[in-house]
Amino acid sequence: MFAHLMDNLDLWRIGFANTLSLTVLSFVIGFIIAIPVGLARSRTGTWMSRITYGYVYIIRGTPLLVQIFLLYYGAGQFHKALSQLGLWWLFREAYYCGLFALILNTVAYQAEIVRGAVLAIPKSLEEAGASVSLSMLQIFRFIHLPIATARMLPALGNEFVLLLKASALVSVIAVTDVMGQARYLFSETLDLSVYYVAAINYLAIVLVAEAILRKLEARNIWLNPR
């Protein structure tokens, strides 16, 4: 039944590497971008907050699949302009298009997580920091950031798992991720068990991700003392 597995180990290895790198890269880059976006979102009533809300609304309100198609096929229409900008290599490759779409997508969700965590920090801690002569930057770095990061961890872990599974969608633009390889092998062998192998690939990544998350959460003993 699993004969196809041993025959195609290299193919699966590529698929696994692509899925893992797409997910980890988009998650990490997305997080870095989500910090300023989330902070802007939390300044209610400002133009920054409105613009970032517009972004979050559009991304969260449309299917990821639509976003991937628009990016991949839509980019072709701007072939000339993108070539002139020296960016065509990026949009020509399905992998980069997929990565780009996943980043755009996860930024919206992670920005909401950042915003929630920042808004949950009481103003009184800012005052306490100010009262021991910390500057606004020091208050952000030593008080807001560590507290918000600790409180965000469970939600971020959740987003990572969702993003991992959503990354399977990039197979429709011919990225050779786990799902892409599974689809290819199924069309070759018509053996449904290739999808079991695909599922196990995702489960393995989730298992490791959850172990890392538990380690990180355990470091914040202050959240659940004793």
């Binding site: 009184s124 920091g129 009262s131 002569s133 910390l134 500057s135 202050w222 003392p225």
Partner: protein
């Protein structure tokens, strides 16, 4: 009284003149004039909403004000980052709800300000923090987190955290109001010993026993104004203003 024996006229460390503050249309501080001498202990009392907390929060610029001026140790408090940070170094603050940093240990709570705000080397900051944690009788809790301590212990840590900045003046904003009754004394004891050591203190509090024991002056505020101020004996036995009499009656039943 504890400190009627003034020899030379003490230096004025905080000078507030014609201070006015509004929240929108609400006039919360009206023409406040107040001079605080070095080493003086002032208790500020008054009904809630009278502006007493707002007044002391203006002194380290946690609140902005729209009129008048505040001079701390010869420097006028203006909306300038450097000046504000400097004044906050000299003026310590203890809050009603402690406001300890929940993600830092007790020791780190006390060293963050000195290391980041005063540029003190880490070892010195730790030494200093342990000194003041000893002083508030809590050195054995240094490695715990605020969430593991009782309210009284947390407030004592907050006092130590403030003292680590070597302030010239300490502001207390209802430091015992959020505490269970059995924990009030342990905090007041620390404040009394600070007072006895000559720390300049402004305390917003309803602890009239504390006022009687250590205050040089009791100020009564109502509706954003200083209605009456006097030494504690006069203040409690011979209040002048109708509002003061009413307030004292309510406090002592």
């Amino acid at each position: 009284m504890a400190h009627s024996d003034q020899k030379t006229p003490a230096k004025i460390i905080i000078s507030i003149s014609a201070l006015n503050k509004w929240y929108g249309d609400l006039h919360v501080l009206r023409d406040i004039d107040l001079d605080v001498k070095k080493g003086e202990r002032i208790v500020i009392a008054g009904p809630s909403g009278s502006g007493k907390s707002t007044l002391i929060r203006c002194i380290n610029y946690l609140e902005k004000y729209q009129g008048g001026k505040i001079v701390v140790d010869g420097v006028e408090l203006i909306d300038d980052r450097k000046i504000i940070e400097n004044i906050r170094r000299e003026v310590g603050m203890v809050f009603q709800s402690f406001n300890l940093f929940p993600h830092l240990t007790i020791l780190e709570n006390c060293t963050l300000g000195p290391i980041q705000g005063l540029d003190l080397p880490k070892e010195q900051a730790i030494e200093k923090a342990m000194h003041f944690l000893n002083k508030v009788n809590i050195p054995e809790q240094a490695d715990k987190y605020p969430g593991q301590l009782s309210g009284g212990q947390q407030q004592r840590v907050a006092i130590a955290r403030s003292l680590c900045m070597n302030p010239d003046v300490m502001l207390f904003d209802e430091p015992t109001s959020a505490l269970d009754p059995e924990m009030v004394k342990e905090v007041l004891d620390i404040m009394v010993s600070l007072a006895k050591e000559g720390m300049t203190m402004l305390c917003v509090t309803h602890e009239m026993g504390f006022a009687k024991e250590v205050a040089d002056r009791v100020i009564f505020m109502d509706e954003g104004q200083i209605m009456e101020q006097n030494n504690p004996v006069e203040f409690f036995t011979n209040p002048q203003h109708e509002r003061t009499k009413e307030f004292l009656k309510q406090i002592f039943f």
